[in-house]
């Protein structure tokens, strides 16, 4: 490593950071590919089917075949579309999904940028994800796409508020915006019982469900709602442009699961005190939350649009507000068993 440092001189820090970014993004892309396979397999078995099983052993090469197929297809730009925005929209949707990974702590020392305002950064970056959907819907110059983007805009604004309040609860308990500090703050002698999910249980549920809504996943997938508006905001997209929306959706799912694991499920901490902490626990927690996402999709029918709005504004926001007051008061009493921050 010192050899490279001397060889490249002042360019070394930039190249080293780039290498770290590649080391995060490449496995993430692989994970996205195999998450699509996992989704088809899991939902298949839940519906007593086998799922993809023809390409490669037990269908393991299916995502690669899908990627190759999408790469070789033509990207059609509709005649009435705004060309620049039409091409720009997929970029706007994948950018936040990847940029937010900069501050995620994978294990005690492994984090790309250990900045102090990590939580705020994640919230700010993920709030930009909606622009991909809005711009795509508007630039397509299609009624279906436009309806999809309007639905998505209203839904994401509603659920982001509940999500933000749930994270305020995490902030109150941790006393820090730094994600590594938030995880370390959850370490305790009771293993899984010391994690944030227990004192913040209502907020944990609100965060998890809002996460499903934020990523436009079933049962909150009204932005694409096949049976109502064909494919919603990406109805006019084909080939690689469509594939990038697809990548962004799955990368966002993994991101929300990771944030859930970091904020509420103790990140890399071990659930039982006698086993060592490590990255393996982090990966296991992310996998469990991702499985929940797939399970939801296989189980619940799509929400009606007014029910989504009611759930966001009239149920989740009051629940988080009340629980904020309760936790705030509880932390001031001597009966707060999770330690002082």
């Amino acid at each position: 490593m010192e050899f490279f440092e001397q060889l490249l001189g002042p360019a070394w820090p930039a190249i080293w950071t780039l290498a770290k970014i590649v080391a995060i993004v490449l496995p993430l892309m692989g994970l996205v590919a195999y998450l699509t396979l996992a989704e088809r397999k899991v939902i298949g078995y839940m519906q007593v089917r086998i799922g993809p099983n023809r390409v490669g052993p037990r269908g393991l090469l299916q995502p690669i075949a899908d990627a190759l197929k999408l790469l070789t297809k033509e990207v059609i730009i509709p005649s009435g579309a705004n060309k620049f925005l039409f091409v720009f929209a997929p970029v706007m949707s994948i950018m936040p999904a990847l940029a937010a990974w900069a501050v995620i702590p994978f294990s005690p020392q492994v984090v790309l940028a250990n900045i102090d305002a990590g939580l705020l950064y994640v919230m700010a970056i993920t709030s930009m994800g909606v622009y991909g959907v809005i711009i795509a819907g508007w630039a397509s110059n299609s009624k279906y796409a436009f309806l999809g983007s309007l639905r998505s805009a209203a839904q994401i604004v509603a659920y982001e508020i509940a999500m933000g309040f749930a994270l305020v609860g995490v902030l109150m308990i941790s006393g820090s915006l730094n994600l590594s500090a938030i995880v370390e703050r959850q370490a305790g002698s009771w293993g899984a019982l010391s994690w944030n999910w227990l004192p913040l249980f209502p907020m944990f549920l609100v965060y998890l469900i809002s996460g499903v809504a934020e990523t436009n996943r079933a049962p909150f997938d009204v932005a694409e709602g096949e049976s109502e508006i064909v494919a919603g905001f990406h109805v006019e997209y084909s080939g690689m442009a469509f594939a990038i929306f697809f990548l962004a959706e799955y990368a966002n799912m993994i991101l929300v699961s990771t944030l859930c694991a970091v904020m509420f499920l103790g990140g890399w901490l071990s659930p039982v005190p006698f086993l060592p902490d490590g990255f393996i626990w982090f990966a296991a927690k992310v996998a469990v939350v991702l499985f929940l996402f797939l399970w939801f999709r296989a189980t619940f029918p799509r929400y009606r649009y007014d029910q989504i709005m009611r759930l966001g504004w009239k149920v989740f926001i009051p629940v988080t507000l009340i629980w904020l007051v309760i936790v705030g008061g509880w932390m001031q009493t001597p009966w707060w068993p999770w330690g002082q921050s």
Binding site: L120, A124, S127, M128, V130, V157, E160, L177
Partner: protein
């Protein structure tokens, strides 16, 4: 050196975006240029070591306010020719207001009394220095009354805005979720037992 280059690049993009906000013919393009302007301004604040303000600008303005703004603008049916009517009538008052604003800013920025010329550069802090904690401490101790007053004014504004738009139609139909969830099977369906009917004709 590098910072200066970044500053000028951001400043140039900000000026361009701000200019396009008022010159773009399509209102959706104007709104998107405003988003770009906010993002660049946030980058400039980051250069000033104001990380909380920079991130809050993105979170609040780009993540929420502009989304709602676009939501409204996209649904408007705007006739550009009608918008451009009376351009010359509005030009003179518009220029006068712009001139007053430029003069006011010049007084503040160039004035001796405000001492902004000799403003020192912000002290660079290490990455673990919490800007947010400092701001919170100041807001809830030294400036607590002003802060709470601002919060109350905002609350009144929200209540007023909702009250203004609250026009309830007498004949509108709506669902009451509380009543929907207490419905039992007996309330909606009636199961009737009846004997099987004999076929009227012969075999066919």
């Amino acid at each position: 050196m590098f910072q200066t280059a970044v500053f000028y690049a951001f400043a140039a993009i900000l000026l361009f975006a701000a200019l396009r906000v008022i010159t773009a013919r399509n209102p959706v393009h104007a709104a998107l240029f405003l988003v770009l302007a906010f993002a660049t301004a946030s980058g400039l604040w980051m250069l000033l070591e104001a990380e909380f303000l920079a991130i809050a600008l993105i979170l609040v303005y780009i993540g929420a306010v502009m989304v709602l703004f676009l939501f409204v603008v996209m649904m408007l049916d705007i006739n550009i020719d009608r918008l451009r009517e009376g351009y010359w009538d509005y030009l003179a008052p518009g220029l006068a207001i712009a001139g007053i604003m430029v003069a006011e800013m010049a007084v503040v920025l160039w004035g001796r009394q405000f001492g902004l010329i000799s403003m020192p550069a912000p002290v660079p802090r290490p990455a673990d220095y919490s800007n947010t904690r400092e701001l919170g401490g100041l807001l809830y101790t030294q400036y607590v009354y002003a802060f709470e007053l601002a919060a109350v004014i905002l609350l009144v504004a929200i209540v007023a805005a909702i009250a203004l738009t609250l026009r309830r139609r007498k004949d509108s139909k709506f669902q009451d979720p509380a009543r929907q969830v207490v419905v039992r099977k007996q309330d909606r369906i009636r199961i009737v037992t009846m004997p099987a009917e004999k076929r009227a004709g012969g075999d066919q």
